[in-house]
């Protein structure tokens, strides 16, 4: 604490201590790598036809939107020392509901809103079922959401009759492909939702109570925290946000792919949360960190394609980046490095790291 308020150096130290700082560093590094491949990588142009900014950065923001949604939901669930493995399956359910509805509905704004409402309602209900399984029935979060993860894709198949349904609706398509003030609508929406959720949990006691049940459910109960109600709410929110992500993903191509939409995205969500500095043990959470994590994963995905890493090496490339990042974040590894350096010129080295 003594570092606090001692000018820019103190501020810098404070920032470096934040876990998601290394996520930001990783994003910058990846962008630099891309920049060396193509010096015009970061350039952003203006498309007069649809009044939009075009560039690789804009693509990254757009790709990050669905991951941001599921990461925020996952972050809250993990804070209660639970986990939600069903986010990817809820995405496909939301996509299936909206596409199946739109395939029969007229191409109007009202149709798009109805599809959106229906999809979000169904996703929230699925989330609620998760919540009931966890809080009322008392199943392990891992098991209940695993069931939902497996069942969800089946439900989506039943909804579309085993087909990859596509539909036409300009308003719905605009959600994922439109632009507002030159920025992709989908990213602005995602950002707005993150801010909204952030205000909701941090400006009220909600966040504290979520952390309380994650830290020690017994103590929380004795302190009068309504564990059951909170868990129901948190899992429903996670379901709802996954539904939003599902709408984002399917609206971008106006097709739901029952076997691929949201496939294995629960892993991306968990990674984003962990990169953002939220411990899987629960008890604390960091929404900004989860957002940074989501942006990092989107950047990583885009980098792999931009560099032309071969398909077979893609998972390995991603794994290496993430393992290195986790190692840097680990306190123990950092301590090890620091103790080795104490023999050298300590202060200057430390400054180098901070910079």
């Amino acid at each position: 604490m003594s570092d606090n308020g001692t000018g820019p150096a103190g501020f810098l130290k404070e920032v470096v201590r934040r876990q998601y700082f290394w996520g930001v560093v990783a994003i910058v590094l990846l962008l630099l790598v891309n920049l060396t491949k193509d010096p015009s990588y970061l350039s952003i142009g203006w498309n007069d036809a649809n009044g939009a900014l075009v560039g690789n950065l804009v693509d990254i923001l757009r790709a990050a939107a669905p991951i941001m949604m599921i990461s925020i939901g996952m972050c809250l669930v993990i804070a209660t020392s639970g986990i939600d493995l069903s986010v990817g399956s809820v995405m496909v359910i939301a996509g299936a509901v909206s596409m199946q509805f739109l395939a029969a509905a007229p191409n109007t704004f009202a149709g798009a809103m109805a599809a959106l409402g229906l999809a979000l309602l169904v996703s929230a209900v699925v989330g609620l079922v998760n919540g009931i399984l966890v809080s009322v029935v008392g199943l392990q979060p891992f098991i209940s959401t695993l069931i939902m993860m497996l069942a969800g894709r089946g439900i989506a198949k039943v909804i579309t009759g085993g087909q990859n349904t596509s539909a036409v609706n300009d308003s719905f398509r605009w959600i994922a492909n439109g632009y507002l003030f030159g920025l992709p609508v989908v990213f602005l929406l995602a950002l707005a939702i993150v801010v909204l959720v952030g205000l909701l949990v941090r400006r009220s006691a909600l966040g504290l109570m979520i952390e309380a049940i994650g830290m020690d459910p017994q103590a929380a109960r004795l302190a009068g925290v309504n564990r059951r109600g909170l868990l129901l709410a948190v899992y429903s929110i996670s379901g709802l946000l996954s539904g939003v992500a599902g709408v984002f993903a399917t609206a971008s191509v106006m097709t739901v792919d029952i076997s691929r939409t949201g496939y294995q995205l629960e892993m991306d969500a968990i990674l984003a949360v962990v990169i953002g500095g939220t411990s899987l043990a629960g008890g604390k959470f960091n929404l900004t960190g989860a957002t940074v994590g989501a942006l990092l994963i989107a950047t990583l995905d885009k980098t792999v394609v931009f560099l032309g890493v071969s398909s077979s090496a893609t998972p390995a490339f991603k794994a290496v980046v993430i393992v290195v990042l986790c190692l840097i974040q680990s306190d123990r590894v950092r301590q090890l490095l620091r103790s080795r350096r104490t023999t050298g010129s300590r202060p200057s080295r430390k400054e180098a790291v901070a910079a």
Partner: protein, 335 residues
């Protein structure tokens, strides 16, 4: 006791079939399979079909077609046994039950290529001919089965490459959207394409990326590919229809015109792809024909009559290279 197990499984299948019926408002294929299974008639030829089950539009068309061909009217009793969740063990169990039961012929679409030697040997000892439908086995020991009936991936992808050479006499910069790395279909489709395009002059491969058969991923991948090559891409080879349709959307987003600035060729020939071809968004669609029930019927009859058949029967597949051709084929498209 194996019979009992099969019965239990079969009841499960009936239940699933009923569920599917109520859920999707009537799936003729599922209903038919269960009805025929229950009817036991002495003078019908019993055919056990060890199938893959729900996998996608192509598989659905393929298996429905088989079920519609081997009807009671044609003199067959078809026992349809789809795998549970693409699990090979459930297929081996179903296969064994068919052998124990003593069906006349077994049709097999293996979810996985390896591990079939023991089961096939058992069928051989019981003198039950086995015919492979679509999927082959590894190692490919032709003594163990009568024949494999399937469209040829290498031939289909060569057709795409030949079209590309004709369309771009001067050559072109092209990009390949692949399925998941390591899958045999992907390898074969690459092999056919590379063999033909490698001979041609002027073709420059910008790269290949997997989009996991998915429209959404293909769109995301290809928008980045366009940017990293400053839109200097003339052709895309998408290894299935869905990815091709994703590439179309990426091209449109980039302000280019699919079919003019970037020509996109796909494999499979589903309804959606033919519609896109008719609209001029795709430029070439090579069919991977799932409808070969008639061929299978012919082979079964020949085998039972003791005639010999080739060990590999290639199902002819069509290609569509113009909007007119697509429009003509659209009304009768089954998948």
């Amino acid at each position: 006791m194996a019979n009992n197990r099969f019965l239990a499984k079969f009841m499960g299948l009936v239940a699933v079939g009923a569920l599917a019926l109520t859920a999707c408002g009537g799936d003729p294929a599922g209903g038919e399979g269960t009805e025929e299974g229950q009817a036991t008639s002495g003078d019908l030829t019993t055919v056990g079909f060890v199938a893959v089950g729900p996998e996608g539009a192509w598989r659905q068309a393929n298996e429905a077609n088989i079920q519609e061909t081997f009807t009671e009217d044609a003199g067959f009793e078809l026992k349809y046994a789809p795998a549970a969740n693409l699990d090979q063990k459930s297929q081996i169990d179903a296969f064994t039950s068919f052998v124990d039961e003593g069906v006349d012929v077994i049709l097999l679409s293996a979810t996985e290529g390896s591990g079939w030697e023991d089961s096939l040997t058992r069928a051989q000892e019981a003198e039950i001919p086995v015919i492979l439908i679509d999927r082959g086995i590894e190692p490919d020991n032709t003594d163990l089965y009568v024949t494999r009936i399937a469209p040829d991936n290498i031939e289909v992808s060569s057709a795409v490459a030949n079209w590309a050479i004709e369309e771009f006499p001067e050559g072109a910069n092209y990009f390949v959207l692949e399925g998941p790395a390591g899958v045999s279909v992907v390898n074969e489709r690459n092999e056919g394409w590379d063999a033909v395009i490698g001979e041609a002059e002027g073709f420059n491969k910008l790269g290949a990326q997997t989009a996991n058969w998915s429209t959404e991923e293909a769109k995301s991948v290809f928008e980045t590919v366009l940017k990293s090559n400053n839109n200097d891409v003339q052709m895309v080879f998408a290894q299935n229809d869905e990815m091709g349709l994703g590439a179309v959307q990426a091209v449109e987003e980039a302000g280019l015109v699919p079919g003019e600035d970037v020509k996109i060729a796909t494999i499979d020939g589903t309804k959606n792809a033919l519609q896109a071809l008719a609209d001029g968004k795709l430029s070439f669609v090579a069919e991977y024909n799932p409808l070969f029930g008639e061929t299978a019927l012919d082979v079964v009859n020949k085998t039972l009559a003791g005639e010999s058949v080739d060990s590999y029967i290639i199902v002819p597949s069509l290609t569509f290279d113009s909007p007119e051709a697509a429009e003509e084929a659209l009304p009768d498209r089954k998948f």
